[in-house]
Symmetry: D2
Subunit: 135 residues, 4 copies
């Protein structure tokens, strides 16, 4: 069972080509990632309150078909690797069952104040592994 | 002499109507405001380092003609009122000498930590008054 | 009964003050406006397919309290005036029942191709009047 | 001689981590790409007027160091491959000579109306090859 989140393309996310601007996809992946984490112990807001933040190290998107204003999108997210301070998400964006984009991002947990790398909290590592192995 | 700043409409700022999205104008007014303040004692970044931040209380834009991708825009800014913690900016956006939008924003200086209102620093009030009276 | 739409503040909508950037509010008002119209005959997408588009003439926002990442917001929208080509929306943004912003926008219907003003379609005027008088 | 374009991080591009949001980088790469093309026969606006548009197929960014509000950035761009309808750009983003990010994007030329792939115009292929071999 893959986790997914749903949203509609906003008008403000379109561009003069009449389709969703390619940078909007990174916002959508972030929304899926935050929704994914929200199931575990308060999610990203809780992490931030505990002094742990996450930075993005890399982002990759492959655009297969254009998305248009008001299109209903389903963004599937999997967290495939958690090692030390680092973790990786893989995504698929679909519209009515048709894959329109895919991508992945890598991240590092950092101390909110020093911005130095810090291990992904154990409880989160365990929660993610349990969630993914149940998939 | 009115202060102005110049920019070009980015492709990411356009929408599916083929023109600049109306929310982009608030970003442009902010750029003009920050450029305006940059002439005085380090500007907005310096203010923030001194523990003073500015929040936006109101924003108004009147859209007269559409702006398109790559259009060169000139944004004039005046700071017309500075009273206590509050100040107001008035703007005109022109393209090749033709007015395409106008607007105004009101702001309050706040303490960066408490977010409570704090007077606009005296040196900034004086600098703005001198600049505007020289106009 | 006032119409409303709900959303959560996205991380990408925050700024370095730690709150939602003031330009994001215009995107939210647009989302509320589009959701409002979606109840009537296919809404804004249908209007566009019929060759009628809507442009924004003015936008005003009053910021009362900051909105933060992940805050659940309720945006109420009323369409108070429809005259000829023009119409106006009034909005209230609340978080947990507390008003954090309010605003209004004015718009004109235009022909999609010529971008010249065209009357708001009769069926839409009637639908809006019925909806608002039922309120 | 590598082509580059310069910009400053806008306040609206920052997020609640106090740094530039990772999606903003795609806007910056697009600005560099459009500036790069602007040197040749009218650039991207001219291409669009000739009925040729360009879509983004892939985008990749590697984030090395955070960018902050008002940071002056230099974005170098190279167009390394032009084959049939496709072309690729490679980028480096620097602040004061320090590399803070790098990335690449791939694109396809399409017919503006049909959105079907169309060869990169010969004059543009030649202009790019001349520019890059002079580097």
């Amino acid at each position: 069972v893959t986790f997914y989140t749903e949203l509609k393309v906003r008008f403000s996310e379109t561009d003069a080509q009449g389709v969703a601007h390619h940078a909007s996809y990174l916002d959508w992946l972030e929304i899926a990632r935050i929704d994914y984490l929200a199931r575990f112990g308060g999610g990203y807001p809780a992490l931030r309150e505990q002094g742990v933040d996450a930075t993005t190290l890399e982002a990759y998107v492959k655009y297969l078909l254009p998305a248009r204003f008001d299109d209903p999108l389903r963004i599937s997210a999997r967290c495939g690797e958690v090692r030390g301070a680092r973790f990786r998400f893989d995504y698929v964006i679909e519209r009515d069952g048709e894959r329109i984009a895919e991508g992945w991002t890598t991240h590092a947990c950092v101390d909110s104040k020093t911005l130095r790398p810090t291990r992904v909290p154990d409880w989160l590592v365990t929660a993610i592994k349990d969630a993914e192995s149940a998939g």
